[in-house]
């Protein structure tokens, strides 16, 4: 073991804040024993190596797509998750107390919840003031006196804790609505144990998996029926939610279906999952959506995220929800001052864990205290606002006017506010800018109901702040996370977290996987946007190359190859008016004189519909919306693509060749993405839907391209150049030369691109594939009469089979227009576009909107 001086040299920048508990040193220069062990391992690893590993951790998390969404960010950006390689340590002895304290608290909240939604003896006996419950927006009157399944009503509980100046962990706040963070804790552990296994070596770190096993068990236990094999879904508000990553991560880890409100419906007093096959009964909902949003009929009427009629199904006892609707009431900070009396009432004992001092303003004396001591307190509302807004206000940070306004608000609604003491968070070693400095941390532990009591995750999510000793640490407002190591006295080694549970109920896993229609729709659009990006990128590259080759910056002639190609680009990307601009001739001249301005915009302007960047964003959103469909490697590819495209974008004015280079690497990544999917996605409904989307997009693209380029007969040289460009854009030139061993001619080119059933890029081939995929869709009869979708695609197929390229390439001798070809392509386009629309209508019906009915007729 290295001597203390060696370790001290690592810690030169660690300067603990004044009047805070020092986690690292017991007194003067003595490092606490567990930290001594930890830093010995770290010393052995070496400072330089730690730096490298830290980079690895960040890369691993980024590649795994671990992210945190930020509300109100218009571009929908996700923030990569940050993890400090130095963990938070909790000793075995300390954990014993915390564990007992947390379990007691969870049991207490469970009893509180049952009492509030049942007999209300606490209010009747004057232990809890009525106003505290009745004026809380989380007290859901429609959920009172509903009989719930399971011995514990509160299934999930989480507590935020921080170490006070006395070195003890104090409870800062409670979470009973839909506690988030357990998935991030798991992912943190996964990253730490894969990248820094050496640091675990001399410490016995408790494993996290028992918590997740119990979670799965708890969800099964509350199922009202079908108790061997219940269908459990994770209800998420959707990809815009700050912790959407975690929702999908947990769903994948626990083997559950991830759904949004409109994937579910209430019918016949049951909750059903809408899949593309049929409706399937849902037994248990793991709720990550705030309860008031869950039912627009009986709860918040303007919620579009919920399931109309859900409360009634709960009332009938036909579905179980974890946590139950209405559970947020017990996390009210206003209850904190009353908890000791509640504990006395139920248990006859005191609380084990200390809670920071809290004054509920609903009592006159307490309100006056809070107002008089505003500067030294933190003020919060007793319920959490919509996410993204600040829930806690540091009294010291307020200007005189702000303080006055806050006091006015408190006086207007005293019941809704509490004042809380500020504690000085402890100082703990943290990694910042490649140095070990002192930071402050907030630790969240998670509990789940288990055997008539609760089990706590031995570990959790720690968030740190290396800035001022701030009371308020939140992911929304920034903050870095830490893995939390609960040390064990026993020799219990951390094992790498596997991504599959090792429970013995394997049967559970083999449950038929039906595709929620919402997922199906997103997969369909992943397919369509993938091809849209690829085809647009190729066309844009081809047009740009053509401009460069000719070294002509002036495109004067409307009939020139360049002019036709530029207009085709506008047509295919659907970025009108684009090169069709004809508002004033000056504007048009300017556009054609300097086409690169428009070309650059169509490439990079993310806000412009049809631009490559915009389509990439749509693709990213669609991929993200079905995130547990993809293999981990797929994320790696997508991240890389994003990085490369962003760096290409930053080069956008550099030079035209570099722009083309950016498109090239984008295309390479797109094919890696496709290849990855081909390797890893099971050939089930999901694959069929996605590939169907691709084939439809490809067909429509080819039709649009041909229709736009070959409108009229051009001069031989021009037509040849156009033909060549089309073949290059479609990557078909080599195939053409190999097949026909001749120079380019329109009839033969059309035969290859439209009619060759052996060429995967030809329309005939694509339509054949589409026909096959449609026949595989559920509800699709294989007999006569055909559905409209089948009829359409059969007609397209027949049209192609009967087509005669020589007849199609005849042009009108006067106008020179390829009338036959245009008509033919138009007909095909409408058949295929209608097919796509009919598929959306049949299988993605969830997009139906909901509407409120009210009566109003009064005298």
């Amino acid at each position: 073991m290295p001597d203390q001086p060696a370790i001290h040299s690592l810690l030169q920048q660690y300067i603990p804040a004044l009047s805070s508990y020092n986690e690292l040193f017991s007194d003067g220069n003595n490092i606490r024993p567990d930290w001594q062990t930890f830093f010995s391992s770290l010393h052995q690893l070496g400072y330089k190596e730690l730096r490298n590993r830290n980079v690895d951790i960040l890369r691993l998390l980024k590649e795994n797509g671990v992210a945190y969404n930020i509300y109100n960010d218009p571009s929908g950006q996700t923030r990569p998750w940050e993890l400090d390689p130095i963990p938070q340590l909790i000793t075995a002895h300390e954990w014993e107390i915390i564990n007992a304290g947390l379990i007691q608290r969870a049991e207490l909240f469970d009893l509180l919840l049952k009492d509030i939604y049942g007999p209300q003896t606490l209010i009747k006996n004057g232990i809890v003031p009525q106003e505290l419950i009745y004026l809380h927006p989380g007290f859901l009157r429609s959920c009172v006196n509903i009989k719930l399944p399971g011995t514990q009503h509160l299934v999930l509980y989480a507590a935020d804790m921080a170490r006070g100046i006395d070195g003890r962990l104090w409870i800062i706040s409670d979470r009973t609505q839909a506690p988030s963070g357990s998935g991030y804790a798991l992912e943190n552990r996964f990253a730490m144990s894969s990248v820094l296994p050496d640091l675990f070596s001399n410490l016995n770190v408790k494993r996290l998996s028992p918590y997740f096993d119990s979670l799965q068990q708890a969800l099964t236990n509350i199922a009202p029926r079908n108790s061997d094999n219940p269908r459990v879904v994770v209800l998420t508000p959707g990809p815009d939610n700050e912790t959407y990553f975690e929702h999908s991560y947990l769903a994948a880890y626990l083997g559950l279906t991830l759904v949004q409100g409109n994937d579910l419906m209430v019918k016949d007093n049951y909750v059903w999952l809408k899949t593309i096959d049929a409706l399937e009964k849902v037994d248990v909902i793991l709720r990550r959506l705030d309860d008031v949003y869950c039912d627009p009929l009986e709860l918040k009427s303007d919620s579009l995220l919920g399931i109309p009629g859900l409360v009634q199904v709960v009332r009938k006892g036909n579905v179980a929800i974890a946590n139950p609707l209405g559970s947020s009431i017990v996390e009210s900070a206003g209850l904190v001052p009353f908890l000791p009396a509640v504990a006395k009432h139920f248990f006859g004992t005191d609380l084990i864990m200390p809670t920071i001092a809290t004054w509920w303003c609903g009592q006159p004396k307490e309100m006056n205290y809070v107002i008089a001591n505003l500067k030294t307190l933190v003020v919060r509302k007793i319920f959490r606002n919509i996410a993204g807004t600040r829930s806690a206000i540091d009294g010291a940070s307020l200007s005189a006017a702000e303080a006055e306004e806050l006091i006015r608000q408190i006086k207007a609604n005293p019941y809704l506010y509490v004042g809380q003491e500020k504690i000085n968070f402890s100082s703990t070693p943290s990694w910042l800018d490649e140095k070990i400095v002192a930071g402050h941390s907030l630790f969240r532990s998670f509990l789940v109901s288990h055997n008539n009591s609760y089990i706590a995750m031995p570990g959790g999510l720690t968030r740190t702040n290396t800035g001022a000793n701030s009371f308020i640490i939140s992911n929304q407002l920034g903050g870095i996370s830490k893995d939390t190591w609960v040390l064990s006295a026993d020799d219990e080694q951390e094992q790498p977290v596997s991504l599959q549970l090792t429970t013995d109920n394997l049967q559970h896993k083999i449950l038929k996987r039906s595709l929620p229609s919402h997922t199906a729709e997103n997969l369909f659009w992943v397919g369509r946007y993938t091809e849209r990006v690829i085809y647009n990128a190729r066309l844009q590259r081809t047009v740009m190359q053509r401009l460069l080759q000719n070294n002509k910056t002036f495109v004067t002639d409307d009939e020139s190859t360049e002019a036709v190609l530029l207009q085709t680009l506008t047509q295919c990307t659907y970025t009108f008016p684009g090169f069709f601009e004809d508002s004033t001739s000056a504007k048009r001249e300017e556009l054609y004189a300097k086409p690169w301005t428009e070309l650059t915009d169509v490439l990079y302007n993310e806000k412009r519909n049809g631009s490559l960047s915009h389509n990439l964003l749509l693709l990213k959103n669609a991929v993200y919306s079905v995130r547990n469909f993809w293999a981990l490697d797929t994320w790696r590819v997508l991240r890389q693509m994003e990085d490369e495209w962003n760096s290409a974008k930053s080069d956008m004015y550099a030079d035209h060749l570099r722009m083309i280079g950016g498109i090239d690497s984008l295309n390479t990544s797109m094919f890696a993405f496709l290849g990855m999917n081909r390797e890893s996605v099971r050939r089930e409904q999901g694959w069929n839907i996605m590939d169907l989307g691709r084939k439809l997009e490809q067909s429509l693209y080819i039709i649009t391209l041909l229709r736009s380029v070959f409108q009229k007969k051009q001069e031989e040289q021009t037509e040849h150049e156009l033909l060549e460009s089309v073949m290059i854009a479609g990557q078909s030139l080599i195939t053409y030369r190999y097949t026909y061993r001749d120079h380019l001619q329109l009839p033969m080119a059309l035969e290859l691109l439209m009619l060759d059933t052996n060429y995967p890029k030809s329309l005939a081939y694509l339509v054949k594939k589409i026909k096959r995929y449609i026949s595989l869709l559920p509800k699709e009869g294989k007999e006569i009469p055909l559905s409209n979708k089948q009829r359409n695609i059969h007609e397209a197929d027949t049209l192609l089979k009967l087509a005669d390229v020589v007849a199609l390439t005849k042009f009108d001798p006067v106008s020179k227009e390829y009338t036959a070809l245009t008509d033919f392509l138009d007909k095909l386009y409408s058949l295929i576009a209608d097919t796509s629309m009919l598929i959306s209508k049949t299988y993605f019906k969830h997009s139906q909107t909901q509407k409120q009915l009210f009566t109003a007729n009064f005298i």
């Binding site: 209300q120 209010i123 009747k124 006996n125 004057g126 003031p129 009525q130 106003e131 009745y134 004026l135 009157r141 429609s142 009172v144 419906m265 209430v266 019918k267 016949d268 007093n269 627009p296 009929l297 009986e298 009427s301 109309p308 009629g309 009634q312 009332r315 009938k316 019941y415 139906q848 909107t849 909901q850 509407k851 409120q852 009915l853 009210f854 009566t855 109003a856 007729n857 009064f858 005298i859």
Partner: protein, 292 residues
């Protein structure tokens, strides 16, 4: 006195609706002043699910679902309600002053739970400074609670103009206060808000009011309507119903369905349809005397 009430609500949609969830709070409650003798709810098309339960405030709630395609939804309720005598309050003694009642409730811990829950504003009944100022004129020191409330509804009746169509269910009270216009529901909310601003309990009552045909003329069918008024807790008298729209205490002609903190706790009929279709609504109410 025995009354029959027939209340029909009809929605016509502009396109097929395949699923609709509804909640109807239309069954008259039993109170110390009325007994519901018969109640019947007829829904067309026939609902696939029809359930009843009692809500937080003790009102009877019907939940129904129509799971077949339909373009029209009709809900008819028929009830017979016997009014019990006892509306003629003996207001000989002035009763306790409002300050005493307020203090009594403030000091109570668990014993007045049922009354105290109606002391606090909801989103719609939250009082502005202007509303509080308006209310205070009716609550001078020492005045009995009964007289203060009676004075308040009298002032509302004379200061506000009954104007159908000016407000909707979501018009805020600040607008009602400023324009001094509205219908019974606005006046009830306004009165409740005033009483809350003083710190006293008041609740929102949903029901019907019998209207009488002009002398010598036959009453037309369906001309009645849903009505709303308020109820105030007065120790020694219990919950006393005042009608700010008509400046009177609720008498035999008032048939109570139920109550809540405001309109949104006791919406007669509400629903969620899965469709973006617009709809038209027709309501008819008939209140008739069956026997004297």
């Amino acid at each position: 006195m025995l009354y029959s009430v027939e209340h029909t609500t009809k929605y016509q949609y502009h396109e097929q609706v395949s699923l609709c969830h509804n909640i109807a709070v239309l069954a008259p409650r039993n109170t110390d002043k009325q007994t519901c003798r018969a109640f019947n709810i007829i829904i067309s098309p026939l609902p696939e699910v029809l359930e009843e339960h009692t809500d937080f405030f003790g009102n009877k709630v019907y939940y129904f679902v129509i799971e077949q395609e339909h373009e029209e939804l009709t809900v008819t309720v028929k009830s017979q309600v016997e009014k019990i005598n006892g509306h003629d309050l003996k207001v000989n003694h002035p009763g306790q002053s409002w300050e005493i009642v307020k203090q009594m409730l403030l000091n109570s811990t668990g014993e007045f739970m049922a009354e105290k829950q109606f002391t606090h504003p909801t989103q719609i009944t939250a009082a502005t400074a202007e509303i509080k100022k308006y209310a205070e004129l009716s609550f001078p020191p020492g005045k009995s609670l009964f007289e203060a409330v009676y004075n308040l509804i009298k002032r509302i009746h004379s200061d506000f103009k009954f104007t159908p169509g000016f407000t909707t269910v979501s018009t805020p009270l600040s607008v009602v206060m400023k324009e001094r216009k509205g219908v019974c529901q606005d006046f009830a909310h306004f009165a409740i808000s005033c009483i809350h601003s003083i710190g006293l309990p008041a609740r929102y009552v949903s029901g019907y009011l019998e209207t009488l045909a002009p002398a010598g003329k036959e009453k037309l069918a369906g001309v009645d309507a849903s009505h709303a008024w308020i109820s105030v807790f007065i120790p020694g008298m219990g919950w006393v119903d005042f009608d700010p729209t008509n400046n009177q205490l609720a008498n035999e002609q008032y048939i109570t369905i139920g109550w809540g903190r405001d309109y949104f706790d006791i919406i007669p009929l509400k629903g969620v349809i899965m469709s973006s279709s617009s709809h038209e609504l027709k309501v008819s109410v008939d209140v008739r005397r069956l026997e004297e």
